[in-house]
């Protein structure tokens, strides 16, 4: 491995809550290689979103550094696409206008913008809804639109915060497969947060397990399963073993200190 695409060095994040300080991240270090697909699992409140927001440049670490391409993160950048836990579509814009938003801020000429938006809308299967407003879309369609919007800026890194968290099981599995097939055609570095252990193993090269109070990395589990992955794989014993390991690591974390 040469220089990692993403490098998190001893990052801490402290939120002042009233007079107390709340340690959301207590020293997290993590390297993600170029084109690697890393999933992050952990109990609610363990600082997953906080870590992602720091990498996205939306939040500053209290201590330590976050490096992208060897340079410290300062603010958001076009090389990092973010997909939020809440869909965060602009409700007054149509699907197409949402997808074009980032290209408009980047002053991509209109023709080119149209063409690329068209391409990504087709990629996520929303071509029939290109002129629809978000309020008329289902949750899964909204999330696909958000994915197209992030892809359209052509980021080399995708930061995804529980993108499929609010979807039903079937839609979720479909979107997972779609995401993997998109990713294998057009590799990017992905950090994908989830609280679903199956999802974490199915997607990842590597599963990072986080623990809470203070937020930290409890375990890193390599997933040596070949891509492309399909539904067969979910039933295989290798998959089962890995899932059990991750499951164990997530749900049998010894609590270091009880909450006060």
């Amino acid at each position: 491995m040469t220089t990692p695409k993403i490098s998190v060095r001893d990052v801490t994040k402290v939120f002042p809550v009233g007079k107390e300080d709340f340690v959301a991240l207590g020293g997290v270090s993590l390297d993600i290689a170029d084109n690697e697909f890393v999933t992050v699992v952990g109990p609610s409140g363990c600082g997953k979103s906080t870590l992602l927001n720091i990498l996205a440049g939306l939040e500053e670490p209290t201590g330590g550094t976050a490096l992208v391409d060897g340079k410290p993160v300062s603010g958001p950048g076009p090389e990092r696409g973010v997909i939020f836990q809440q869909y965060a579509l602009f409700p007054w814009l149509t699907v197409r206008e949402n997808v074009e938003f980032g290209m408009r801020t980047a002053k991509v000429p209109k023709q080119e913008r149209r063409r690329r938006a068209e391409h990504f809308i087709r990629l996520v299967g929303l071509e029939q809804f290109a002129d629809a407003l978000p309020k008329t879309l289902s949750g899964g369609m909204k999330q696909r639109c958000a994915i197209a919007r992030a892809y359209a800026v052509n980021p080399s890194i995708l930061l995804m915060d529980e993108p499929f968290g609010a979807l039903d099981a079937l839609t979720r599995v479909k979107l997972q497969e779609q995401l993997l097939s998109t990713w294998s055609q057009d590799r990017r570095t992905v950090m994908f947060i989830t609280h679903d252990v199956d999802e974490a193993v199915f997607l990842a090269n590597r599963v990072v397990v986080m623990a809470a109070r203070p937020g930290r990395i409890a375990d890193v589990i390599d997933v040596d399963l070949p891509y492309p992955r399909d539904e067969e794989l979910r039933l295989s014993p290798e998959f089962g073993d890995l899932r059990n390991r991750v499951w164990h690591s997530v749900y049998h974390q010894q609590v270091k200190e009880p909450a006060q």
Binding site: F90, W92, F101, G102, G139, A166
Partner: protein, 266 residues
């Protein structure tokens, strides 16, 4: 942790509606007809009211000799001028307050203070300072519209969903773009609510201002009719004011619905 998709929990609302709105419409009409009948009954029973027919006749005369049109024109001109100026100022100041802490700190005490004073209470002062032309009336209406709308605009800017601001930032938007393409559309519903309240307030203030100090306008017409005990004219004035207020409110509401059709639910 399985989360049920939002669609599953949202109640279906479409089917029951047409029936209900028909019933409501019928009840509305029944109520209006009954009200007119009671009015007519009361005036025939020797109550001091003019009958609806007398009011209609009076309205006809006033239309014929041009006074109704002239009065309505004078009143509408004032209210529209004051309302337009007030709304524009309120939107500007509201945005400034929501976006810049400095502006908020400087404007807030004054707005909070003047909000507690009915705009009409400023009329004596304004009349002394600005004379008896059109400007004092327009100014008081301006004040009414401005104060009703400014806080609402400010609330709209402050309440813009942080996730949307973050989404815009990670898509490369800078402050100017975020303001124009996220903050402005996101706060439009709040601004429109403020403008509707502002219009109501402006209209109310106008009529009262004309009752006190004007040489033309619906309020002035009613004021002079009072001297001659001319009840039909007063009725024509009241009804015209009500109808115009209703029309303006509906127009604003329609425009608002067009502008905020993207909202999830209303």
């Amino acid at each position: 942790m399985a989360v049920i998709s939002a669609e599953a929990t949202r109640p279906a609302k479409a089917p029951a509606r047409p029936r209900k709105s028909r019933t409501l419409l019928v009840l509305n009409i029944v109520s209006i007809v009954a009200g007119l009948a009671i009015w007519w009954g009361l005036s025939l029973a020797g109550f001091q009211f003019p009958t609806p027919a007398e009011v209609l006749a009076s309205a006809w005369t006033m239309i014929g000799n041009g006074t109704l049109v002239a009065d309505t024109g004078a009143s509408l001109g004032r209210v529209l001028a004051g309302f337009a100026l007030g709304s524009v100022a309120a939107i500007l100041v509201g945005f400034l307050m929501g976006w810049y802490t400095i502006a908020r700190g400087l404007f807030e005490p004054w707005i909070q203070f003047f909000r507690t004073i009915p705009p009409l209470a400023m009329l004596p002062l304004v009349l002394v300072l600005m004379g008896i032309g059109e400007s004092p009336k327009i100014f008081v209406i301006f004040l009414a519209a401005f104060l009703a709308c400014v806080i609402s605009t400010y609330q709209g800017v402050v309440n813009v969903d942080r996730t949307l601001l973050n989404a815009a930032r990670v898509l490369g938007a800078r402050d100017g773009t975020i303001f124009a393409r996220v903050v402005v559309p996101a706060s439009t519903p709040f601004i429109l609510v403020g403008m509707r309240v502002g219009l109501g307030s402006a209209w109310g203030t106008l009529v009262a201002a004309e009752l006190l100090a004007a040489q033309a306008g619906l309020g002035h017409r009613m004021q002079s009719a009072q001297l001659y005990y001319d009840l039909p004219t007063i009725f024509v004035g009241i009804i015209t004011i009500g109808v115009l207020g209703l029309i303006m409110d509906r127009l604003l509401m329609l425009a608002g619905n067009k502008l905020t059709a993207w909202q999830e639910s209303r």
